[in-house]
Symmetry: C2
Subunit: 342 residues, 2 copies
């Protein structure tokens, strides 16, 4: 069963992959919305169980890949995603259905991680589900699949990948091997994202970004993410920003405060990327985002000062926020958000 | 069964690991020589079969780890290593015996590769055996196990790891992800090897080198090595140099010629490591080796001009030599060797 975004079914991409699987019975499920709900997961799982799918192929952005991960597990695990996640107490038994992930955006890295992010409509929040059963068996990268991404999506997903890399790098649980992967991924993204944004069919730039996204995915799948992702969850769920925008919008501010406990390491990063100081890197990132028409102030996406306390509260509930190399409490998080309000 | 170097059995290290495996019957095999022969492998395999080993733990330098890999396969694969390697036509069936590798030198990276190098006494040559069955199930790094390495071994094994990283980096089959790992591993080695050489019990330096060795191992296990390793085989087998010395002795010369097809990429490397040019990097490596009392000229290890043609011939037989980013033929290889004779 090929699980894809509706667009990729309608434009024939899913079917062209299905037809290439000679001698296989292929079914399609394409009712995936952005920030997919648990209800969509259950619906896809029911379809996969009905046909006893022996392989689930996720095709699309993070949403389709994340759904494909959970669906591949639910083929042989009874019940609903709610039984295993968001308060559910059942343990997933080992996945026996093969899982192949083919990203069509270059940003989530979901094709190489053990993470799926789902929106729990009952509780009204978006939270990650982490399990070893989610590591895909295969990831297939084809830069051409990203040629048709609108420039705004190229920008936001590419900056999401950059956030994965930098959050793994400054992470309190960082590892030397992940530092190396993160440094390289960040460099590849900075050197190519503007080109991919302006020239959507540039094979080299597209190839570099999708490769960097995968590499950043390997990196943060070991360390997890930090404050950027923690704050992105309420910004996406409650203010409708895309995941990449919701992450990137706090990136420059987090770069500035990341020097608190990791000054030397952050300076190595800034120098490696060609900047003389941590602040210079922060400013360059903001400038790059502006040049790609990305919002850099919370007010640009409809957030008001009166919302900041709530975003702070929800963000602090995500355990990963404490992997940020800075003190993260009601006061400091509020101050960070306030600094990028207007 | 714990397969170890004799020294590690005699000094009690193997037994202390064996005793920590509470409730397990542990056997020991420690008759491993440097550049292990196929005969030693068969002897160890016979011992493992007799006790029906369900897990083989390799403990030691590259020799012990490489032997442990083949032994773990031969527990359930009938016959001799010669049946599968060096002209043998049998195919290894999937390994069912668990394989754990614990390196006590920081250089081979064997704990994370699918390669074993054995000396075929019948043919008088040392050649690598590559198979997916050799990927260990677990690698365990303990910097303290390297505290007792003599300075000369610290130097030669550390430079071997450096060669793995640089050969993956300039490799014709290089990959972005391996480039990142290699860059980081080379930096860690250059920043720490002298400290580990001079202060054998420096935990931080030892930890950095053994970690870098593992990371370089992951990198070159994807790309394979190049001319340095190809030429090291005859230099070791026929002139008795240790593997690390036999590799490092051609390193500076290979750095100089690697700019032939990879000038830009090699300059990125030189700059990243703090040098203004490829030649400056080459010279710095030679200076570093001299400061650690390593030979940098072939005549220092008893090789005469009349030997160069033979080394050239044998080196050119190794297919990996053609992964070097330079023309490798009788003329160019001879010239390279000649340039570092005296």
């Amino acid at each position: 069963m090929i699980v894809s975004d509706p667009f990729l079914y309608e434009n024939g991409t899913a079917e062209s992959i299905g037809k290439s699987l000679k001698g296989k019975d292929v079914a399609y499920f394409s009712e995936i919305e952005p920030n997919p709900s648990c209800e969509s997961v259950d619906k896809a799982a029911e379809a996969a169980r009905t046909i006893k799918a022996d392989c689930v192929i996720g095709l699309g952005g993070g949403s389709a890949l994340d759904v494909s991960k959970m669906v591949s597990c639910l083929v042989t695990n009874v019940g609903s995603i709610y039984d295993y996640y968001a308060g559910g107490t059942k343990q997933l038994q080992p996945r026996t259905t093969e899982l192949i992930c083919i990203p069509t955006t270059a940003g989530t890295g979901s094709e190489v991680t053990n993470v799926g992010v789902f929106t729990n409509k009952k509780a009204g929040i978006k939270i990650p589900f982490v399990t070893n059963e989610f590591w895909p068996d295969y990831a297939i990268l084809d830069p051409e699949l990203t040629f048709t991404l609108p420039p705004a999506v190229t920008a936001s997903t590419g900056m999401d990948a950059f956030c994965h890399a930098i959050e793994a790098y400054w992470n309190k649980d960082s590892l030397p091997i992940c530092d190396m992967l993160s440094l390289g991924a960040m460099k590849m993204i900075l050197e190519n994202i503007k080109q991919a944004y302006e020239h959507p069919q540039d094979m080299e730039a597209r190839g570099a970004i999708i490769t960097a996204s995968l590499i950043a995915g390997i990196s943060f799948s070991q360390t997890r993410t930090t404050g950027i992702h923690a704050l992105s969850f309420p910004i996406t769920t409650e203010f409708g920003a895309s995941h990449g925008v919701a992450c990137a919008i706090t990136l420059s501010a987090f770069i500035k405060i990341s020097g608190e406990k990791e000054k030397e390491k952050m300076l190595v990063l800034a120098n490696y990327l060609g900047y003389a100081s941590i602040n210079a890197l922060s400013e360059a990132i903001e400038k790059l985002m502006i040049s790609m028409n990305m919002p850099v102030r919370l007010s640009q996406i409809g957030i008001r000062e009166s919302d900041l306390e709530h975003i702070t509260q929800v963000g602090l509930k995500a355990a990963i926020i404490q992997l940020t190399p800075a003190i993260m409490n009601e006061e400091t998080v509020y101050a960070l958000l306030k600094s990028i309000l207007e």
